[in-house]
């Protein structure tokens, strides 16, 4: 075989491999849905305030995901639409009011210590209107944690025997849910990851595969910008 033909074959093989890698990377990116959502900011008494509304669901559903059975976070955009976006742009030196509507049942934490709330005003949260500084870790459904900011809030799970449970996201508030509200404050600009600490990925080894390892479901980033 001539050298020219060999080179051509090698080039063709490299090109094919490159295209396949490109398809794979595109699929990963597409699945991850890592686009950033800029949360609207309002000014109250000269201070920047953000209202971040999220919901945590047992199944993302076919409307917002190619993996309808994956557990997921969703964020409510300014026009009221729930979207599966977990990279959030937040202002620096601002007050962030978070409301989570949790529609999922309890899985329990691996580390019971993470049932303790930290990093929020008073190291507390309002769970269905009641101020508490922890929940029973075995009743935790999900966790919103930003380790670099010291934030750790466990979300109470919907009881197994609750009526009118939500099937697929986006879940309407008329279905069974728990409401968790808390407030934290951003300071300097930075890029902070957040994640769930409950092994809630049903069907995956140790409950920690798939949505727990994919940005756009149970993990994301806070882009705190000046």
């Amino acid at each position: 075989m001539q050298v020219g033909v060999k080179l051509l074959l090698v080039a063709a093989a490299v090109a094919v491999a490159g295209v396949l890698i490109g398809f794979y990377a595109n699929k990963l990116t597409h699945d991850a849905n890592s686009a950033a959502y800029t949360v609207p900011v309002r000014i109250v008494n000269g201070q920047r305030v953000v209202d971040l509304k999220i919901q945590t669901v047992a199944a993302a559903g076919p409307t917002v995901s190619h993996n309808p059975d994956w557990v997921s976070y969703l964020v409510q955009t300014s026009n009221g639409v729930w979207k599966r976006l977990t990279v959030w742009d937040l202002p620096a030196n601002a007050t962030i009011h978070v409301t989570d509507y949790n529609f999922d049942g309890a899985s329990g934490t691996r580390n019971p210590f993470l049932g303790r709330f930290t990093g929020t005003d008073g190291n507390r949260a309002l769970v269905n209107g009641k101020p508490v500084d922890h929940i029973d870790p075995s009743l935790a459904s999900h966790i919103f944690a930003v380790p670099q900011l010291g934030i750790n809030i466990a979300f109470l799970g919907v009881p197994d025997n609750a009526k009118n449970q939500c099937g697929y996201a986006p879940c309407p508030l008329k279905t069974a849910h728990e409401t968790i509200k808390f407030t934290f404050h951003t300071t300097t600009p930075g890029h902070y990851r957040w994640q769930c600490f409950v092994p809630c990925a049903a069907g995956w080894i140790s409950g920690w595969g798939g949505p727990m390892q994919t940005i756009g479901y149970m993990d994301g980033f806070l882009n705190v910008k000046a």
Binding site: P112, F113, G115, R116, T118, P147, P199, A202, W208, Q213
Partner: protein, 300 residues
């Protein structure tokens, strides 16, 4: 018949290049090695925050001292070859004399490299056996520092993707932050809740694998106050690269105050946390009443 020079057997150079080269190398090594020890040694990592880290600077200085002549050898060879064996401009390219086996050179080469490597192995082993050099020694440590039974015990727990810490001498309080008192001997019990992690506190000179169900013991003696970085050094999933935090070495008074605050914060969750044990999960399900359930049973 007139003889004709052939390219295969060029005339030998009358200069003794070997001797020149060896002299140049020896002179450079004798000058460079003390300079490296004196000026580079003190700024080598990982710092002086602990005795172990300080000793590692000593080890790294030794390694630098041993490797300096090797570096000099390469540099001198390169420069010498550039200067003396460069083809003259416009001149014909001729091959050098053929290389022949030389038993003496081979023996010297093997002896020098073997002695160097064995010496470093012996030096490293000796250093490791002194106090473990900040490395994880498994559940049955061999290099136990004197008086280690009186050390401050701290459990280091790796989980995807955060480090938490328990202090058995403070009621088993668990914290998100690692704080140590200065001038204190500490025994770290490194373990994991899920997959294999590696606890790497660079400035402390400590690195120990965190295996689920295993108590990996490492010793460290703190010195002056300061902050240090904690990282995971074992690829452990999506946010492995974000599994870092900052620890502190503080005065004894500050440590006591911090520990009391942590105990107060921890109090409300304490009843849900299992009693302190050497590992955070059971080696086998149901083998100990003080273990948490197996994480594999908690998924979904």
């Amino acid at each position: 018949m007139a003889s004709q020079p052939t390219a295969a057997t060029p005339p030998r150079d009358s200069v003794n290049h070997g001797l020149r080269f060896v002299v140049a190398w020896l002179v450079l090594s004798v000058i460079a090695t003390p300079l490296v020890v004196i000026f580079v040694g003190p700024i080598l990592p990982p710092g002086n925050m602990t005795t172990q880290a300080h000793e590692q600077i000593y080890d790294n200085t030794w390694l630098a001292a041993v490797s300096t002549p090797v570096l000099c050898l390469v540099v001198v060879f390169l420069v010498y070859a550039f200067v003396y064996f460069r083809a003259p401009k416009g001149g014909a390219l001729v091959d050098g004399p053929p290389l022949r086996e030389h038993a003496g050179i081979q023996v010297v080469w093997i002896v020098i490299t073997s002695v160097t490597v064995l010496m470093l192995a012996a030096f490293g082993t000796y250093q490791l056996l002194q106090n473990g050099s900040g490395g994880g020694q498994g559940p049955s440590p061999v290099a136990v520092p004197a008086g280690a039974s009186h050390n401050l015990a701290v459990q280091v727990i790796g989980q995807q993707w955060e480090w938490t810490f328990r202090y058995p001498s403070f009621g088993g309080v668990e914290t998100h932050e690692l704080v140590l008192p200065q001038h204190t001997s500490v025994t770290l019990h490194v373990t994991s809740l899920d997959v294999v992690h590696s606890f790497w506190a660079y400035q402390l000179g400590v690195k120990a694998d965190a295996n689920p169900g295993t108590d990996n013991v490492a010793y460290v003696q703190t010195r002056g106050p300061g902050t240090f970085q904690i990282r995971c050094a074992e690829l452990c999933g999506l946010f492995h690269g974000y599994m870092f935090s900052t620890g502190r070495v503080v005065s004894a008074t500050q440590f006591q105050s911090w520990a009391k605050t942590q105990e107060a914060i921890y109090k409300t969750i304490a009843k849900y946390v299992p009693p302190y044990a050497k590992t955070y999960i059971c080696p086998a399900a149901g083998t100990s009443p003080t273990c948490s359930p197996q994480p594999t049973l908690r998924g979904g």
